[in-house]
Point group: C2
Chain length 494, copies 2
């Protein structure tokens, strides 16, 4: 079954990185076939009998406990959701995606509304199939992406994070410093033009330095950077290159590199089982954010990188890169947001999608609610549907419950960063001289090797001890961005 | 089922063009899984019942006749060969390949002999499972690669071709002009250094010009050039680049481009059935050879190409390229052979593998037989196992019956070339100005669109009328190479 999933991953990677445009229809058939084979496997009565029998036996073997829990979760999703609903969802996703593209082209949310409405109702039906009585309808959706998490565990955390972020950004004085019709667009510090080929060379150097095994993986280009894994021996990351802003690609490479290191670090001993998979998307995201932000946004990292770049004839200065990278500017587009404002974008979406799924917000009122939320939280108002409610693809593809994993990942990353900093006295000195091995070993042992033996928050807790993730994230932001804005004088290596 | 075959093709393409080295073991599992699913499908009793029922009904619908015949062939191969033999073959292929690599490294045929002996015995067993009484054991093997062909139909053709080639090469005076320990190595005409990137640009220009749809395909690099198709909307060709000899890549691109055009030209109406597949490897090879040799070795083609290359700053002359491309020099390595001596390499292998399979030649005597055949036919003696009996991978992978398709492909290509030349008065003028559309239309209509409705030789006969393929090939060789060597003064545009 896991082998089929690997094949499906190769189809996915190929689709974003390699596939010729006209192959889309055939690829649809291929994907559908592999998915149906996986579904057949998961709904095989013989398998389900075996599973039920095993569940009835007492065990205290953690691998067995995790194996049964993870398999049960997949089986339930396959068995409890009727095929007719799965098909309806597939069709609604396909037409939702088309409607979203059209609505974006016309810059008109109204064109997307009927498709979105249908997708929400199907998501509710889907949730009904899997929810135990009394559960919030959002829980089953969240559980797809971050197993074991519920709205009860997530919402208070994000509420607190929001309050802290708003207070911090208020002290920085960056909120609301914009006119009514658009964000204040500070000119970015000028970066040298760097050719795509040189960026690729530097990207491979960065990947190799942080420990990504290019003999068990690849780097390619795609419109949206992704990491796709066909097992720990075949992990493929992508990026895209902008000759005018090589920091974009560098950030993407560190981000996907973090995902890739996690995928390469999953234990071979558990390969071919659901327990050998990542524990969830939030933990996956914590690895990418650890590398992209905690390490890849630090001054020691830029000292190392600038030296490497200069050796290849790219005239850059560490301080210049550090400042360019760490500007805090409220903006309308989530994927372009800095790390200090990013989580507010996520929290806006989380609140809205919870309301949509529980039925307290109608799609007719979504655009206004979105725009008001941006004014409330970031102090800026979207100037169009395209840079507002139509900017993300997730809802158009029927993906509800995914957004909070971005913020949870940032929270996990902050606690992991704080714990690594406490455990490894030489951390920032090592980073400055390009030694990325010690903290990778730390992550390998405490995070990667745990795969899906436990849920994400348990793994993080075992790795870091009891920590306050919101406080860890705010400390990190205060140390890095507060100092840049003259609010604090820190002593850590940023 | 065909969709699964497309997925298997993607795995194959990825393996040669993209896959990181360490993924080999996982890829083996993925391939085995897809193959077992295909096998399961083909051996499903319900399918076989349906097939037998359909076969019992009278029909004169050619699509139905072809469909039943093609499906029966696949089902028979899946059903009649016991799983234990299939597994034994898989294992013997894997260890045969390893033994072949070791033997090549040590340059010692003896190290490969036991593995080869095992592979031959398993091929005999395989053939026994599928052969009707009285059939030559080679027939069932040949039928895998070129359906409908038998040793009775192939051997006389290749015997005659051999006699004609020997006579022609004798008149050219190129045979045996070598010392006992190696081929006469004439210095090749000097070619300009061309960067890999420029070769890639030119390769894409050539592919686009001959009609290969890069929106429904790709060009990549691999150690051995190949064409892999995931259906007519996704056809991927590869080449490799030698900066000192860009003609190698150009030849490979025209060769794989010919394969690719055939794959893109297979009719969508038959997609998803065995009848929508290529009729056989010989017909496939005829398309690659038509483009590589008949078109791509001609003076008009080089006039067009040299102009394109000069526009990109590559200083080449059409006459120089034409002469460099069309040197006739007996050599030891099949894949480097010119088109006038190439078929002798194939015929040597055909004779030897027939003898091995029917048991009239022992593996103990193979190396001597090989070396003697090279002295007899090409007038040169291999100087090592590596440039002799160990040069091809085919036997090491248990592939017997494939070699003759190379020569049959050249024969088909010659008849197609002669017929195109007769039908299209402007052919060579068109080629000289880069108009490659008329003969592609001709091939699309008469060859590509026929898919596997008929066997290869029937399709060629329908396309060209009754022709003598050996005579067509010899006429082509006399026109092109005889003239270059001052033997004839032709008038065609070669």
């Amino acid at each position: 079954m896991e082998t089929l999933a690997e094949v499906r991953s190769l189809l996915d990677w190929d689709q974003v990185a390699m596939m010729p445009a006209k192959a889309a229809r055939a690829r649809g058939d291929q994907n559908a076939l592999i998915s149906s084979l996986i579904h057949e496997w998961l709904t095989d009565p013989a398998l389900i009998d075996l599973l039920s029998g095993a569940e009835a036996e007492q065990t205290d073997d953690p691998i067995r406990i995790a194996g049964l829990r993870n398999l049960r979760r997949e089986v339930d999703q396959a068995v409890k959701v009727p095929a007719s609903l799965v098909e309806a969802l597939e069709r609604a996703r396909a037409s939702g995606h088309v409607a979203w593209i059209r609505a974006r082209e016309a810059n008109d949310y109204a064109l997307f509304k009927p498709a979105l409405d249908k997708l929400i109702r199907l998501a509710q039906n889907w949730s009904d199939c899997l929810s135990a009585p009394g559960h919030h309808p959002y829980d089953a959706l969240l559980d797809v992406y971050e197993p074991g998490s519920t709205i009860e565990s997530v919402a208070p955390l994000l509420d607190r994070l929001e309050r802290e972020l708003l207070a911090f950004l208020g002290r920085l004085g960056v909120l609301g410093r914009n006119s009514a019709d658009g964000p204040r667009d500070e000119p970015a510090p000028a970066l040298p033009l760097v050719s795509q080929e040189m960026q690729r060379v530097l990207a491979e150097e960065v990947l190799a330095a942080i420990g990504f095994d290019l003999g068990a993986g690849r780097l390619d280009t795609s419109v949206h950077p992704v990491t796709v894994s066909m097992g720990s021996d075949d992990v493929r990351v992508t990026t895209r290159y902008d000759e005018h802003d090589f920091l974009k690609s560098l950030g993407a490479v560190m981000h996907e590199g973090g995902h890739g290191l996690y995928a390469q670090g999953l234990p071979n001993a558990l390969r071919g089982t659901f327990t050998g998979e990542p524990a969830g998307l939030a933990l996956h995201e914590s690895q990418s954010r650890f590398y992209e932000n905690f390490i890849g946004g630090s001054l020691p990292f830029f000292k190392w990188f600038a030296q490497r770049a200069r050796e290849r004839g790219v005239p850059v200065d560490a301080g210049q890169l550090f400042h360019a990278r760490n500007r805090v500017v409220p903006s309308l587009i989530r994927v372009d947001a800095d790390e200090a404002t990013y989580n507010l974008h996520v929290i806006v979406r989380f609140r809205l999608e919870v309301a949509l799924v529980e039925g307290s917000l109608d799609v007719d009122d979504l655009e206004a609610a979105w725009n008001n939320a941006y004014v409330d939280k970031l102090g800026i108002r979207p100037t169009s549907a395209r840079n507002g409610v139509l900017q993300d693809v997730h809802w158009a593809e029927g993906i509800f419950g995914y957004f909070p994993t971005y913020a949870l990942g940032n929270l996990f990353a902050a606690s992991l960063g704080a714990a690594v900093e406490a455990d490894l006295a030489d951390l920032w000195h090592d980073v400055e001289i390009g030694r990325f091995g010690a903290f990778l070993d730390w992550l390998r042992e405490r995070v990667h090797s745990k795969a899906h033996l436990f849920d994400s928050s348990t793994i993080v807790k075992m790795a870091t001890g009891e920590r306050d993730a919101v406080e860890d994230l705010m400390t990190h932001l205060r140390n890095r961005h507060g100092r840049l804005h003259g609010l604090v004088s820190g002593s850590t290596g940023l």
